[in-house]
C-alpha cells in the first residue's frame, strides 16, 4: 500500500511476490474458507422445507416450544418461569416453568432480542424456524475443533463436513423443527469438546467452560443424563487403564461440582441431580476420584510398598463399603429415587413394551431397524469401525473418549430410533478420523514417491515416511496406481454420501407434517392443509374457554394453533389422564358421554384419513388408545376390539369396535361418501376396506366441523336434554 510502483517492471514483481502467501497462510486461508462454506452448507441444506412449503413450525412438540417462546418474548422471563398453563391438561393444568427445559426458548428469545436490538425487525416465528439450522451450523464448527483436538485439523475439517449433511442429525434440525434437540446436539458436542480439552490440558478454565457447556445442555434437553453418565464412565475407564492424571482430576472435579450446582438451577432438574438414581454414577466417580487422589498422596508419602498395599486394601474396602451402604440406605429411605421407566427402557429395550405402553406407543421410541441406520448414516456405518481401528492404533485420552462415546451412543441408537441423533456426532467424528487418516496416508504415499525421485525432504513423520519407503521398495508400479484408485474410491464414496444426504433431506426429512402434499392425477402437487383449517376454525369459531378432547398427539397443536384448552397433550406426564381419554374414545357413546361430561369436554377432535388415504390417523392409532386406556381401566379389554387377534374395521370387525366412540366419530356419515371409482360407498382408502357400520347415529354429539378433505373432524358435545 505504502509504495506505489514508479518503475514499471521491478515493483510489480515485488508486489506479486509480497501477495504470494506462505504455505502456512495458504493453509489457514483454505481452512477458513472451507469452514465458512461448511457453515453455510449446513444452514442451507436444512432449508428444503422452507422452500417447498413455507417458513413454518413442524410436527408436534415444536408447537409447544413455539408457544412458550412466544409467551416468553411477550411476557418476559419472570412470567415465563412462573407460568401456570390453564390451557392444557384440563382440569389439572400444567406448571410450565417447572416442567420444561427452557434452554431452547431462552436461546430463541435471546436471538430475537439481539436481532431487534440491531434493528432487524424479524418475527419471532422466523427466529424459531431458523434456530435449529443455525445451531447445526455452529455444531459443524464445534465438530471441527473437536476433530482437531482428538486427531488433527484434517480430521476436524472432514468431521465438520460429514456432520453438516449427516441425515441422522438433519432429521431433527431442519428449518422449522424447533425442538430441544436442535440446540441440544450443539450443547452436547460442545460440552464433550470442552471436557476433552480440559482433560488434555488440565486447565481449570477449560473445565469451567465445560461446566457451563453442561449447564446449557441441562437447560436444553433431558438427554443431559447421557453426559452425566458418559463422563464418569470415561473417567472410570481412564482410572482402570492406568491413565489417571492430575489433568483428569482437575477437569472432572471442577466440571462435576460446578456443573452440578449449575444444573440444579434448572427447576425441572433441581434436586434430582443429587437424588435420583440416574445421577448417582457421577457422584460415585467423584468420590472415587478423591479416594484415588488420597491414595496417590499416601503412596507418595509412604515409601514402603508393602505397607501401602495393606493400606490400599483397607481403604478400598472401606470406601466401597461406605459407598454401598450409603447407596443402599439412600434407596431404602427413598432419598435416592430409583431409575425412571424411560431409563430402564434404554437399558432393557423390552421393558417399555411390557410395562409402559405410553412410551412404547410413540413411534420414535421404537427399536431401530437396520434400514434406518443405513438411511441415516450411509457410508459412515462402514467408516465407523475403520475409524475405531485408527483410534485404537493411536490411543490417547481424547481418542478413548471418542471411542467410548461412539460405542455407547451406538448402543442407545440401536435401542431407540430417536437416539440415532445422539450417536451421529460420534459416528461423524470417528468416521472423519478414518477418512482423514486414509486419505492422508494415501497422499503421503503419492507425494513421498514423487519427492523420492527428487530428493526426499518431506515434512511427514519419520515413521510414515519409513513405512512408505519400505512399501515403495517392495512394489513401486502398483503402489501409485493403487493409491490413486483408492483415493478415487474414497472420493466416489464421499460423493455418494453427499448425494444420499441431500436426497434424504429433501425427500424424507423436510415435510412439516402439518401440511401434507401429494401428487395429483396429472402430476400436479396437491396440498392438504386440513390440520390448520381445523385448528383455525377452532380458534375463530368456538368460545374462548372451550375444552377440546383429542388423542394426546394433537394436544400441542390445538393449544398452539387453535388456542383452545385441551384435556391431554404431548407432554405425557399423567398417564391416568391419557388413559381416561383413551377409555372415552374406546367406550360406547353413552358411556363416553359420562366421561366427557366429567371432564367438561365441549368439542371432540378426531383425525381421519379414510377419504385421502392418510395412514397415520386415529383409527390406526386406536389400538394404543385401547391399550393405554386398558392399562388403567380394566373395563377396556383389547381382545374386545379384535377378531381372532386381527384388527379390522370392515363388516367382520368386532361389535365393540363398530360401535365405540372413535369408530363412530371417524366414520359418521362416511357411509354416504363415494371415495373412489368402482368402489362401494364408504370405502376407506387408508385401510382399503369398505367400512362395517354405515348407519351411524350420534346421540350426544353433533358434527361441528369437518375439513375439506375430512382429515380432521370436530364434534360438539350437546348439552344435556331438558328433563321436562
Amino acid at each position: 500500500m505504502a509504495t506505489m510502483p514508479i518503475l514499471p517492471n521491478m515493483p510489480a514483481l515485488d508486489l506479486i511476490k509480497s501477495f504470494k502467501l506462505k504455505t502456512k497462510q495458504q493453509e489457514l486461508l483454505i481452512r477458513v474458507s472451507i469452514l465458512c462454506l461448511v457453515y453455510i452448507l449446513a444452514f442451507i441444506t436444512r432449508l428444503f422445507s422452507v422452500l417447498r412449503y413455507e417458513s413454518m413450525i413442524h410436527e408436534f412438540d415444536p408447537y409447544f416450544n413455539y408457544r412458550t417462546t412466544l409467551y416468553l418474548t411477550q411476557n418476559g422471563f419472570y412470567d415465563f418461569w412462573n407460568w401456570f398453563d390453564y390451557e392444557s391438561w384440563y382440569p389439572l393444568g400444567r406448571i410450565v416453568g417447572g416442567t420444561l427445559y427452557p434452554g431452547l426458548m431462552v436461546t430463541a428469545a435471546l436471538i430475537y432480542r439481539i436481532l431487534h436490538f440491531l434493528r432487524f425487525a424479524v418475527h419471532i416465528r422466523e427466529v424459531c424456524v431458523l434456530t435449529a439450522p443455525f445451531f447445526a451450523s455452529n455444531t459443524t464448527l464445534v465438530a471441527y475443533f473437536f476433530g482437531k483436538e482428538i486427531w488433527d485439523t484434517g480430521a476436524g475439517l472432514v468431521a465438520a463436513i460429514l456432520i453438516a449433511i449427516c441425515p441422522g442429525y438433519i432429521s431433527r434440525s431442519v428449518a422449522g423443527s424447533y425442538d430441544n434437540e436442535g440446540v441440544a446436539i450443539f450443547a452436547l458436542l460442545f460440552t464433550f469438546y470442552l471436557f476433552v480439552k480440559a482433560v488434555n490440558t488440565g486447565s481449570l478454565a477449560w473445565s469451567l467452560a465445560s461446566a457451563f457447556g453442561y449447564f446449557y445442555m441441562v437447560s436444553a434437553w433431558g438427554g443431559y443424563v447421557f453426559i452425566i453418565n458418559l463422563i464418569p464412565l470415561y473417567v472410570l475407564v481412564l482410572l482402570i487403564t492406568g491413565r489417571y492424571s492430575m489433568r483428569l482430576y482437575v477437569a472432572y472435579n471442577c466440571m462435576y461440582v460446578l456443573g452440578m450446582l449449575l444444573a440444579m438451577q434448572i427447576r425441572f432438574v433441581g434436586f434430582q441431580h443429587v437424588q435420583s438414581g440416574e445421577h448417582m454414577a457421577a457422584m460415585g466417580v467423584f468420590f472415587l476420584l478423591q479416594v484415588f487422589y488420597f491414595l496417590d498422596w499416601v503412596k507418595h508419602m509412604l515409601s514402603d510398598t508393602k505397607l501401602f498395599q495393606a493400606f490400599l486394601r483397607i481403604t478400598v474396602t472401606c470406601a466401597v463399603a461406605v459407598g454401598a451402604i450409603a447407596l443402599g440406605l439412600g434407596m431404602l429411605s427413598g432419598y435416592i429415587s430409583p431409575w425412571t421407566g424411560r431409563f430402564y427402557s434404554l437399558l432393557d429395550p423390552t421393558y417399555a413394551k411390557d410395562h409402559i405402553p405410553i412410551i412404547a406407543s410413540v413411534s420414535e421410541h421404537q427399536p431401530t431397524a437396520w434400514s434406518s441406520f443405513m438411511f441415516d448414516f450411509h457410508i459412515l456405518l462402514f467408516l465407523f469401525p475403520a475409524g475405531l481401528y485408527f483410534c485404537f492404533k493411536r490411543l490417547s485420552d481424547a481418542t478413548i473418549f471418542i471411542v467410548m462415546y461412539g460405542l455407547t451412543s451406538m448402543y442407545f441408537a440401536g435401542v431407540m430410533v430417536r437416539l440415532i441423533l445422539v450417536a451421529t456426532p460420534a459416528v461423524c467424528l470417528v468416521s472423519a478420523i478414518a477418512v482423514s487418516a486414509t486419505v492422508k496416508n494415501l497422499t503421503v504415499l503419492l507425494r513421498s514417491k514423487n519427492k523420492g525421485v527428487q530428493t526426499g525432504s518431506t515434512k511427514g513423520s519419520s515413521s510414515s515416511k519409513a513405512s512408505s519407503k519400505a512399501l515403495l521398495d517392495q512394489s513401486q508400479p502398483f503402489q501409485k496406481n493403487g493409491a490413486i484408485a483408492l483415493l478415487f474410491g474414497a472420493f466416489y464414496l464421499l460423493s455418494k454420501y453427499a448425494t444420499h444426504c441431500t436426497w434424504v433431506t429433501s425427500e424424507a426429512y423436510s415435510s412439516p407434517s402439518i401440511v401434507l402434499a401429494a401428487r395429483g392425477a396429472h402430476g400436479s402437487r396437491v396440498i392438504f392443509d386440513d390440520y390448520r383449517e381445523a385448528y383455525f376454525w377452532l380458534r375463530q369459531n368456538t368460545p374462548p374457554d372451550a375444552k377440546v378432547m383429542s388423542w394426546w398427539d394433537y394436544g400441542y397443536q390445538i393449544t398452539a394453533m387453535g388456542n383452545r384448552t385441551v384435556i391431554v397433550d404431548n407432554n405425557t406426564w399423567n398417564n391416568t389422564h391419557i388413559a381416561t381419554v383413551g377409555r372415552a374414545m374406546s367406550s360406547y357413546e353413552d358411556e363416553a358421554i359420562e366421561i366427557m361430561r366429567s371432564l367438561d369436554v365441549d368439542y371432540v377432535l378426531v383425525v381421519f384419513g379414510g377419504v385421502t388415504g392418510y395412514s397415520s390417523d386415529d383409527i390406526n392409532k386406536f389400538l394404543w388408545m385401547v391399550r393405554i386406556g386398558g392399562g388403567v381401566f380394566p373395563v377396556i379389554k383389547e381382545p374386545d376390539y379384535l377378531v381372532n387377534g386381527e384388527y379390522r374395521v370392515d363388516k367382520g370387525a368386532a361389535p365393540k369396535m363398530l360401535n365405540c366412540l372413535m369408530y363412530k366419530l371417524c366414520y359418521y356419515r362416511f357411509g354416504e361418501m363415494l371415495t373412489e371409482y368402482g368402489k362401494p360407498p364408504g370405502y376407506d382408502r387408508a385401510r382399503g376396506v369398505e367400512i362395517g357400520n354405515k348407519d351411524i347415529k350420534l346421540e350426544h354429539l353433533e358434527e361441528a366441523f369437518t375439513t375439506s378433505n375430512w382429515i380432521v373432524r370436530i364434534y360438539k358435545v350437546k348439552p344435556p336434554n331438558n328433563r321436562w
Binding site: R532, Q540, T612
Partner: protein, 510 residues
C-alpha cells in the same frame, strides 16, 4: 411417515331425489294497534290504511309536522326513491325535484334521516343535473352533516350546498345516493345449514323530509321473488322482484310511515370488523402494502350441525348464504402477493393480473357461515413510481386508494397507516372525507430514529370510499444511503477486527 396417497377424482355420492323441505315458515308478528299521534295543531290527514301486518316501531313517534323549519319556503314537487336490497349494502337512489316557493334565494337543501338510520349511513352523495334536455351533465355537490337545534325526535340532517343559489320560483333536480350498512336484520337470527337466509328491512314508505312533498314514490328491489311479508301502505304494488310504494300526494314535512319487509337474501354478508392497511414507502422503488383483516359473516348466525357431506354434495341447497370466496381488486403491476394468517400460509388463493388491474381471489380456510370469523393478512408489493409523485413545491406525495380492496364488503373500522421513509419530515394527509389522524413512529429494519407513520382512522366504510388520498412529505435522498452505509461499515469493522486478531498476540505467557 407415509404420505397420503395421490388423490384420485373426488366423487361425492348423489343421494336419490332430494326432498325440498324448505317449509315456508310464517312468522308471527305482534299486532300493534295503530296509534296515530299528532304533536302539532295541524291535523294528520295521512290516509294510512295500515294492513294487519303493519307494525309501528318507535319511529312512529315521528309523525308530526315541524313548523319552525328554517327553510319551509322550499318544497319538493316530485320525489322518487329507489332502494336496492339485493346485497347487504342497501343502496338508495333519491331523485328530488326541489322548488323554491319562498321569496329569498337559497342554496342549502336539507336531507333528513331518522336517528336509527344515521348510525348505519355510510355515505351520502348528491349530484345535480346541469344543462338542458340533451346536454345534461352531472355535477357533484358538497354534502355535510348538519345539526339543527330544534330537530324533532333526534332527526339528523345533511345539508346539500348548491353551486348556484336557487332563486325564488326556480326548481332544480337533485340526484342523491346514500348507502346503509348493517340495515338488513336476519330473521330468524339463526339458521341451519340447509336453510336460506331471510332478512328484515325497515324503512318508511314516505320520505322523511323537512319539506312538503307534493308527490313521491318508492321502489324497492329485492334479490329474489321470495318475499315473506311486507307492510302495505296503499297504494302498494308488488311485481316480481320489485315493490312500489306510492305514489303518495301532498305529504307534510316529517311524515313517517314505517314499513317492514321480510324477504330472502342469500348473498353472503362479508363484514370486515377491522382492517389495518399499512403502506410502507421505500425510496428504493417499492411500496409494500400489508392488510390485516378481521372478517365476519354478518348474516344469520349458523346454528347446529355443519355437515361436510351435505355441503360438498349439494352445494345449491346447503350453505347457500355461506361465504366461499372473496375477490380483492388490487392495483396493476402488483408483485409478491401473499395471503396468510397467524398460523401460516393459506394456499387457496388465485391471482389474475392484466395491464389495468390485478384480481386476487381468496378463499378463507373454511367456508364462512353466519357469525363465523376469519382473520387473515394480505400483503403485496407495488412499483413506487405508480404511486409516488413530486409536487410543485418540492415535496413528495403518495397517491393511494383509501378503502378496502375487497369487493362488496363493509368495513366497520379502517385504519390506514402510511409508513414514510426514515428521515422524512412534515407529513400531511389529504383525504376526501373526514378521518381521525395522528402520527406514530415505527422501527423497521436498520432504523435508528424510526419512521414517521401517518395514521388515519375511519368507521363504517363501503366500496364507494375507495377513492384516492394523498400524503405529502419532504425527504432528502441522502437518507437513502444511511442504511447501506451502516451495513458496509459494520462489515468493514468486522474484517478489521479479524485482521487485527490475526496479527495481535494476546497471550500473557511468552
Amino acid at each position: 411417515m407415509k404420505q397420503p396417497r395421490p388423490m384420485k377424482t373426488f366423487v361425492l355420492q348423489e343421494q336419490g331425489p332430494i326432498e325440498l323441505t324448505h317449509a315456508t315458515i310464517s312468522y308471527f308478528f305482534p299486532k300493534v294497534e295503530a296509534s296515530v299521534k299528532t304533536h302539532s295543531s295541524t291535523p294528520m290527514e295521512a290516509p294510512i290504511r295500515a294492513t294487519e301486518f303493519l307494525r309501528f316501531t318507535l319511529l312512529s313517534l315521528l309523525f308530526f309536522v315541524c313548523r319552525s323549519s328554517p327553510s319551509h319556503d322550499l318544497l319538493i314537487s316530485n320525489a322518487e326513491r329507489r332502494i336496492d336490497l339485493t346485497s347487504h349494502i342497501v343502496k338508495v337512489y333519491l331523485t328530488l325535484k326541489v322548488e323554491n316557493a319562498g321569496s329569498t334565494p337559497t342554496s342549502e337543501i336539507l336531507l333528513a334521516f331518522p336517528p336509527t338510520q344515521v348510525d348505519h349511513l355510510a355515505t351520502v352523495e348528491a349530484l345535480v343535473t346541469k344543462g338542458k334536455r340533451k346536454k345534461t351533465t352531472l355535477a357533484r355537490l358538497d354534502v355535510t352533516p348538519t345539526e339543527l337545534p330544534d330537530a324533532p325526535n333526534g332527526t339528523k340532517y345533511f345539508t346539500i350546498y348548491l353551486t348556484n343559489p336557487l332563486n325564488s320560483g326556480e326548481s332544480t333536480t337533485l340526484e342523491v345516493l346514500y348507502l346503509f350498512t348493517h340495515s338488513l336484520e336476519p330473521f330468524p337470527a339463526e339458521i341451519g345449514q340447509s336453510e336460506s337466509q331471510l332478512v328484515y328491512y325497515r324503512d318508511s314508505a314516505l320520505i322523511l323530509s323537512p319539506y312538503h312533498i307534493k308527490q313521491q314514490t318508492t321502489f324497492l328491489k329485492t334479490p329474489s321473488t321470495k318475499v315473506e311479508s311486507f307492510t302495505r301502505v296503499e297504494p302498494t304494488n308488488r311485481a316480481g322482484t320489485e315493490m312500489k310504494y306510492g305514489p303518495y300526494e301532498d305529504r307534510h314535512p316529517y311524515t313517517f310511515s314505517p314499513i317492514l319487509i321480510h324477504f330472502e337474501n342469500n348473498s353472503p354478508f362479508p363484514v370486515v370488523e377491522e382492517l389495518v392497511r399499512e403502506v410502507e414507502i421505500s425510496h428504493w422503488g417499492n411500496l409494500q402494502v400489508t392488510e390485516q383483516y378481521t372478517l365476519v359473516h354478518g348474516g344469520a348466525r349458523h346454528k347446529g350441525v355443519f355437515s361436510r357431506v351435505d355441503y360438498q354434495s349439494r352445494p345449491n341447497m346447503n350453505g347457500v348464504s355461506s361465504l366461499r370466496y372473496l375477490l380483492a381488486r388490487l392495483p396493476p403491476r402488483v408483485h409478491s402477493v401473499y395471503y396468510r394468517d397467524e398460523i401460516g400460509n393459506i394456499s387457496s388463493s388465485h391471482l389474475r393480473t392484466d395491464s389495468r388491474k390485478s384480481e386476487l381471489e381468496i378463499e378463507p380456510r373454511y367456508p364462512l357461515f353466519g357469525g363465523w370469523k376469519a382473520t387473515f393478512v394480505i400483503g403485496y408489493g407495488l412499483p413506487l413510481q405508480d404511486f409516488l409523485f413530486e409536487s410543485s413545491d418540492d415535496r413528495r406525495y403518495l397517491n393511494f386508494t383509501f378503502g378496502c380492496p375487497l369487493l362488496d364488503t363493509v368495513v366497520d373500522k379502517l385504519t390506514v397507516k402510511v409508513v414514510l421513509p426514515e428521515g422524512s419530515k412534515d407529513p400531511s394527509a389529504v383525504v376526501p372525507f373526514t378521518v381521525e389522524q395522528h402520527l406514530e413512529t415505527k422501527y423497521s429494519y436498520l432504523d435508528v430514529v424510526g419512521r414517521t407513520v401517518v395514521v388515519m382512522e375511519k368507521k363504517n366504510l363501503v366500496p364507494v370510499h375507495n377513492s384516492h388520498f394523498q400524503v405529502y412529505y419532504t425527504f432528502k435522498p441522502i437518507f437513502m444511503l444511511a442504511e447501506p452505509l451502516m451495513l458496509a461499515s459494520a462489515f468493514f469493522l468486522f474484517f478489521v477486527a479479524c485482521v487485527a486478531y490475526l496479527h495481535i498476540d494476546l497471550s500473557i505467557r511468552k
